[in-house]
């Protein structure tokens, strides 16, 4: 064996094994993630109706069109508002759950599993349960039955926009699906806090809120930042439950329309308008990146913990 190959293979064939283990994943990542992303960016500069190998270069035209498209802008605004609401609520709910479960004196594992279980449920299945049984608009839907006990008229939860009851359906479905997962992240964070810190705090006379405010929360900062970031990205990537709850006979209402659903209809439906679709996707990605960076800077993600 020549010395070059020996050198390339590294000590104990370390490089070879590295390639064997990492290679397939990198290849998959390149083929299924990076190439499509780059291709999509390339497409966003072309007039690409019903083709992915367009020839008609339009420069920034698609971007201008998308930014001028009031439906796309309103979907972005809706989702900034949605994120501003859902991120803190899920954050507080999952933190609360984690604190409660962490303090449970018995059946801790049971509670942990019960709250985590919804995470294993598919968004599509959950939306169907929400749509067809809990928030069904007819008088025998679960919520309407409950309202009926108090003599309140049935409400068509997903059909009416005044008041916008559909948000209640969407938000509760999302909370139920997501809170358990972030609870687990918080639990892991809580269990890393050294008991001696609590003991020290107790000796110093700190109890209740003070412990939470000055000990638990600061110790959870790394976890909190990660949870916030994940929540935010998830909010902007919202698709499944919205699509399954609100789309009907080939159309999606103009309210509560996430950017991804809008792009799905524009680019992938019968429209097959890949130019505008890609431009919209790039704008959305930039927006998410911008917010994530801003948040990271603000909260200090990746900064060295002391």
């Amino acid at each position: 064996m020549s010395t070059v190959t020996t050198r390339l293979r590294g000590r104990h064939d370390r490089n070879l094994w590295f390639l064997i283990f990492v290679g397939p994943f990198v290849l998959g990542l390149v083929v299924f993630v990076y190439i499509p992303i780059l291709w999509s960016i390339w497409l966003s500069f072309f007039d690409a109706h019903n083709t992915v190998t367009p020839a008609n270069f339009v420069g920034l035209g698609n971007y201008v069109d998308m930014l001028a498209d009031s439906a796309f802008r309103s979907s972005l605004i809706t989702f900034v508002v949605f994120a501003l609401f859902i991120v803190p609520t899920t954050f507080v709910a999952s933190l609360g759950l984690a604190l409660l479960v962490n303090r449970a004196r018995f059946a801790k594992t049971f509670f942990r599993s019960v709250f985590f279980l919804p995470t294993a449920c598919s968004y599509v299945v959950a939306s169907l349960i929400w749509k067809l049984s809990i928030f069904s608009g007819v008088r025998f839907g679960l919520m309407n039955t409950v309202l009926g006990w108090f003599g309140i008229e049935p409400i068509a939860w997903l059909s009416v926009t005044q008041p916008p009851w559909y948000w209640l359906v969407i938000v509760t479905a999302r909370m139920w699906l997501q809170a358990g997962f972030y609870m687990i992240l918080f639990l892991a964070g809580l269990q890393r806090i050294a008991p001696s810190l609590y003991e020290a705090a107790a000796i110093d006379g700190a109890t209740g809120w003070k412990v939470l405010r000055f000990l638990t929360l600061p110790q959870l900062r790394a976890t909190s930042t990660a949870v916030l970031l994940l929540l935010l990205i998830n909010a902007f990537q919202a698709f499944d439950e919205f699509y399954n709850l609100l789309s009907s006979s080939g159309q999606y209402p103009p309210y509560a329309r996430p950017p991804l659903v809008y792009l799905y209809y524009a680019a992938l439906g019968q429209g097959q308008d890949f130019g505008h679709g890609s431009a919209g996707a790039v704008i959305l990605t930039l927006l998410i990146a911008l917010v994530a960076l801003g948040q990271g800077r603000f909260l200090g993600l990746g900064r060295r913990e002391d």
Partner: protein
């Protein structure tokens, strides 16, 4: 109609979310195109792959596979596609792995035609051309060239319970106002008067609302068709219906399924022809059918939307000529198979007049009325030049008009601007 037929619709709706995306992935990356390998296939016969969406009725898949097998001049492999077929087919046409022959709702889209993705089939019809339903042929034709052959006609119509109407002392409504009054009168604490879909009619009444006012999506010369006070009036009626408390909303199934009607949740429902067998089973001879009524006694005409899956040939096919021959054989020459396809499984109208006359099931009762509506009041669901972007703009506007009560005149202006830009793009 496009994508909606019989029981399969529910199953398909279930699959749309998950299946739609998966189908994209399959169509984009899969290697199994349903086409048997070119080499090694029997002798010199060309191999063709033919795509269908998943029809709901039992036996349909076996039927199309049987038809394909009986064709002697090529080895035809059928691919039956559950899930979001339109998106799957559209994206497969971009690749080399697409079908040779495929069906598409109301024929290929204008962008497929303009993009050269489908083949001109004008010369296949021959003498049979005059036998096909003219509105369907017109819908699948662009600039004098035919791009698909209609397989079977579907339509939507209003069904009502005769016994409930006569108990309330109401005549079948002939104008929108009468319909509104009837719906209100039929509403009790258990039963609602009318069901037009859980979105209050946004999905299916866009067309009927225009036709009933004597208008259309586009005018004859392909300019915007409903910048008109009658359209404003007609759309306002839909809002009135939505707020009347007589409309069933939030039902477990949507308009394309007869359950809301057969389970007694509503006295009238706008639904598809395909639901009639189930309705007949639930209420033997206790139901009647109507077209969507005209706006008022002086304006417009009754209307029903008519659509058809059309069989088209992929321009990227390696065997374009063999594919054209196969389509001609199946959808032009083999009349008995076309009749079988329309009649043996669900409830559809053959796309050819000579066959519609032969169809036994269509000779009496509500079905015979339905055939009459197609011939007298039928409108193609949407015009060929009504692009998906125009469709989205209109359904957004309908949503705001019907659900939020915004002013129809302003919304129509906004739709007009988008439609005109789209028409210009397509023409250019």
């Amino acid at each position: 109609m496009s994508g909606a037929r019989g029981n399969g619709f529910n199953r398909r709706q279930f699959l749309i979310g998950a299946g739609g995306m998966a189908a994209m992935a399959v169509a984009g990356c899969g290697s199994n195109t349903g086409r048997s390998p070119d080499s090694g296939s029997s002798g010199s016969k060309p191999a063709l792959s033919q795509w269908y969406h998943q029809y709901g009725e039992a036996g349909t898949q076996q039927a199309v596979e049987r038809y394909a097998k009986e064709y002697a001049d090529a080895t035809v492999t059928v691919q039956w596609s559950p899930g979001d077929y339109d998106k799957k087919a559209a994206s497969a046409l971009l690749t080399d792995g697409g079908p040779d022959v495929f069906e598409y709702g109301n024929g290929p889209s204008i962008d497929m035609v303009k993009g050269g993705q489908v083949v001109d089939l004008t010369d296949l019809l021959g003498d049979a051309k005059s036998d096909f339903t003219p509105s369907l042929i017109a819908r699948m034709t662009y600039q004098g060239k035919l791009y698909a052959i209609p397989q079977v006609t579907d339509m939507q119509l209003l069904v009502y319970r005769k016994s409930l109407l006569s108990a309330a002392g109401i005549q079948p409504p002939t104008t929108v106002d009468e319909l509104l009054a009837a719906a209100k009168k039929l509403t009790t604490d258990k039963v609602k008067g009318l069901f037009v879909g859980n979105d209050g009619g946004v999905g299916i009444l866009g067309g009927p609302a225009l036709w009933s006012a004597g208008l259309d999506y586009l005018k004859e010369d392909n300019t915007f068709g409903f910048d008109d006070p009658a359209a404003v009036e007609s759309l306002r009626k839909l809002r009135e219906l939505f707020t009347s408390k007589a409309l069933l909303l939030g039902a477990p199934t949507d308009w394309s399924d007869p359950s809301a009607f057969t389970q007694g949740l509503t006295a009238m429902q706008f639904t598809g022809l395909w639901t009639l067998p189930q309705i007949q089973k639930a209420f033997p001879d206790d139901f009647g059918v109507l077209p969507w009524p005209k706006l008022n006694s002086s304006t417009g005409a009754p209307s029903v939307p008519v659509g058809a899956y059309g069989s088209a040939v992929n321009a990227k096919s390696k065997n374009v000529d063999a594919a054209k021959k196969f389509i001609k054989w199946l959808w032009v020459d083999q009349a008995d198979k076309q009749l079988d396809w329309a009649q043996s499984f669900g409830f559809h109208i053959p796309a050819r007049k000579s066959l519609a006359e032969k169809a036994e099931k269509l000779k009496s009762g509500p079905a015979a009325d339905a055939v009459k509506f197609v011939n007298e009041n039928g409108h193609a669901q949407t015009p060929l030049l009504w692009t998906p972007k125009s469709g989205t703009a209109y359904s957004d506007a309908l949503n705001r008009i019907i659900k939020n009560g915004t002013d129809p005149a302003g919304e129509i202006k906004a739709v007009k601007a988008i439609v005109e830009a789209e028409l210009q793009r397509v023409a250019g």
